[in-house]
Amino acid sequence: MGKLYDLLLEDVRFEEGLKACMNCGVCTAICPAAEFYDYDPRKIVDTVQKKDEEEIIELLKSETIWYCGECMSCKTRCPRGNTPGFIIMALRTLSQKLGYFTESEKGRQQLAIKRTVGENIFKYGYCAATYAVNPHMHPEQGPIWEYILENSDDVFERLGGQINGIGTGPLRKIPQEALDELKKIFEVTGGTELFETIEKHSKIKASEMGLQFNSEGTDNDYFVEVYTANNGTHNAHDT
């Protein structure tokens, strides 16, 4: 048994997610990613269960493992009790730990997620918050979104919200002590370490790619690159 397979086994999601696959395809049949990417969860499970070190490395560096949307629809149906979605989560975690994620266009996007949703957690105590959804980065939110941001105090007041208010209510300000506790939890449980790992490998990759990289924020070439780049090879049917 290979070393990488052992590392995967340390993740309870992997242990729970992989029993034995008989390649029935029930997962792929309803997988939203299998439809719009060159992706087949059945093949991922089959590859992983072969325990071949080289094939697992290839997966960890691949675009493929980043196609899943973690809707977990695969879990409902698998006749062998596997959860391809959990296997993907374990592969992604390991890919980041080992720094392989920057080898793929889709993997490199982890930095963009860390710099947006990840930072929101520490700054606001929310993954997403009205004021953190920038209309320029989210044009699909439409004109109503710009309107809400321009009038957020009035909008929230009428709807009973507490935007940045003290106490309870929708989008209240999370007390500093609670934010401190979150931060401490991240430190104790390896959350901070994962953030730092993503930053470290992204910085290396940015220099390899010759792109400007700032240690924070979204206003640098590497961030813009990973946030927007699509080389068009992810869905053969689109070309």
Binding site: F36, H237, D238
Partner: protein, 114 residues
């Protein structure tokens, strides 16, 4: 890409209803052994092209049956018509003739450009 930076993708799902399967019908009529395939993959295993490229004769036959004409047309020309596949087929499918008939069918049809 327009103002959003992405577009609506074309799905990979085989939509059986929207596909034209007349090529498969043409082959069934002229090479009935085409029906006997059990998708075992012996043809692909022995196929020279298949060993050197991503070409799969097993998959190609399935996609002919499903009417995935774009994929089939792109791949048909990769077959070198050596006929080794016929030797190994456990069901006696004349796989070489299947390829020849598919090419014929596309040539005959106005709907397809080969």
């Amino acid at each position: 890409m327009g103002k959003f930076g992405y577009t609506i993708s074309k799905g990979r799902q085989i939509d059986y209803e929207s596909n034209d399967r007349s090529v498969a019908e043409y082959i069934y009529d002229n090479e009935p052994s085409f029906r006997l395939c059990i998708e075992c993959g012996c043809c692909s295993a022995t196929c020279t092209t298949g060993n050197l490229t991503k070409f799969s004769l097993r998959e190609l036959q399935i996609l002919i049956k499903r009417g995935e004409n774009e994929h089939v047309q792109q791949n048909l020309k990769k077959c070198m018509l050596c006929g080794k596949c016929i030797l190994v087929c456990p069901r006696g499918v004349n796989t070489r003739n299947v390829v020849i008939l598919a090419k014929q069918a596309y040539q005959k049809s106005d709907n397809y450009a080969v």
